[in-house]
Amino acid sequence: MSEQQITPQEVIIGILRNYIGEDIDAEKVTLEANLEDLGIDSMDVVEIIFDLEETFDIDVPNPGDVEGGNIKFNTAQDVINIVKTLIDQK
């Protein structure tokens, strides 16, 4: 499969899988799974944000800098939503 055929969602799931705890099965990374439950800590999230920015050429704002809204990184779906929004805003 060439890279063009991989959806952003699959790419994001792939990135998240790089940061899950050593004892966690990669199949557990589903859209609904809580990142903390996957062994992803706050420092991992910072690294994940860097990977997302580099991969999708986006700038993820700091949560405190976003007016009225909270950027949540609780689940894989949260991450996908944020990335999609930022890609659309480009």
Partner: protein, 404 residues
């Protein structure tokens, strides 16, 4: 309060453990080779260094660790692992809080620093990896040692260029003497054979591009090295209480500042550091048999150090064996004194003085017995380890063969 050495670990251009380091220095091996880790090496005037040979970080650390560990932290962890296993220590219960980690580094995470400067200034990258700062801070190595072994006592990093690990060992001794801790992991690490750093050293014109010939008339400078040494210091009481193997005793230390020039060494500062070490260790000059010299092989250091040794030891200077093992393992900067302490300990244990290699011709300004080119069996009861750093900051430690 008597302080003893109960564990050692080494990573150097001579190999990955204490045995290869010691075997190397007694065999007169050279750790100098063409620089491997700098892709732009062709653009350097200095293309030789004392690199840790064939280093593959993935053999020692997993992906997650490598995202966090600069090369200097990796070396420090490797030497600490060897030393802790050697000392058979486990930092459980109260001992965790009664153990200190004091490590030296001249620069810290230089590889990380340079890679990331290149990224933003040269490659115009928009952002840097999030772990850039925690990876490059000079205390990263000491911090990761505390984390790997669960050591919870007072811990920090000391930077005094080429004397960093000597000052660290002295500081660790002070904490042991005051009763603050029972055990200290000390020493240092350096890994700055990078394009920018070598360029900087080139500009200073103190680095040789052939070999390091300390005290020899045709010496042409130092050879940059890298690596790490960990020395485990312990109060004699604590070491005895757990039946530890004891390698040697640390009798004392002396420190001084030249208050002179940022690069030119002064004999006066070196004299005061050696005298302070003798006084602290309650030794007379005649008690010393061997000195592991700072001996960088630069035109400036060697005559200055020779004059300082003559001033301190007077007529006894002619009876001393003085050698520079930097002629084999290179100048490992912030790790130098830790590695050279291992050389001193082995000299005390084996009763053999390590050689000064690559010595070809006597210099009238360097007129001591430098143990040229061949290790020498001799009586060695007490030895000094000299470190005289850029910035004129000096530290000398005195070690004694251990007897019950």
């Amino acid at each position: 309060m008597r302080i003893v050495i109960t564990g050692m670990g080494a990573v150097s251009s001579l190999g990955y453990d204490v045995d290869s380091f010691i075997e190397g220095i007694y065999a007169g091996k050279s750790g100098f080779r063409a620089i491997q880790q700098i892709p732009e090496v062709e653009q350097l005037r200095v293309q030789i260094a004392a690199e840790v040979p064939d280093y593959d970080e993935t053999e020692h650390f997993n992906k997650k660790q490598l995202a966090l560990y600069d090369r200097f932290t990796q070396f420090q962890l490797l030497s600490a692992r060897e030393a802790v296993a050697d000392a058979k220590l486990e930092f459980t219960g109260l001992l965790a809080e009664r153990t200190s980690v004091v490590m030296g580094s001249g620069i810290g995470g230089q590889t990380t620093q340079e890679q990331n400067y290149k990224r933003i200034y040269h490659d115009k990258a928009k952002r840097l990896p999030p772990l850039t700062v925690p990876k490059l801070i000079p205390n990263a190595a000491a911090s990761h040692v505390t984390m790997e072994f669960g050591i919870k006592g007072p811990s920090f990093t000391i930077a005094s260029a080429c004397a960093s690990s000597a000052h660290s060992m002295a500081q660790a001794c002070m904490m042991l003497r005051t009763g603050l801790v029972d055990v200290a992991l000390t020493g240092g690490s350096e890994a700055c054979i990078t394009y920018g750093t070598v360029k900087g050293w080139e500009a200073l014109r103190v680095v040789s591009n052939s070999t390091c010939r300390p005290f020899s008339k045709d010496r042409s400078g130092m050879i940059l090295g890298e690596g790490s040494g960990t020395i485990i210091l312990e109060t004699l009481e604590h070491a005895r209480s757990r039946g530890a193997k004891i390698y040697a005793e640390v009798l004392g230390f002396g420190m001084s500042a030249d208050a002179g020039n940022i690069v030119q060494p002064s004999s006066d500062g070196a004299v005061r550091a050696m005298q302070a070490a003798l006084k602290d260790a309650q030794l007379n000059p005649e008690d010393i048999h061997y000195i592991n010299a700072h001996g960088t092989g630069t035109p400036q250091n060697d005559p200055s150090e020779t004059a300082a040794i003559r001033a301190v030891f007077a007529s006894h200077a002619d009876k001393l064996a003085v050698s520079s093992t930097k002629s084999m393992h290179g100048h490992a900067l912030g790790a130098a004194a830790a590695l050279e302490t291992i050389a001193v300990v082995s000299a005390l244990e084996r009763q053999v003085a390590p050689p000064t290699m690559n010595f070809t011709e006597a210099d009238p300004k360097c007129d001591l017995d430098y143990v040229p080119n061949k290790a020498r069996p001799m009586e060695i009861e007490v030895a000094l380890n000299n470190s005289f750093a850029f910035g004129g900051l000096n530290a000398v430690l005195a070690f004694k063969r251990f007897r019950d």
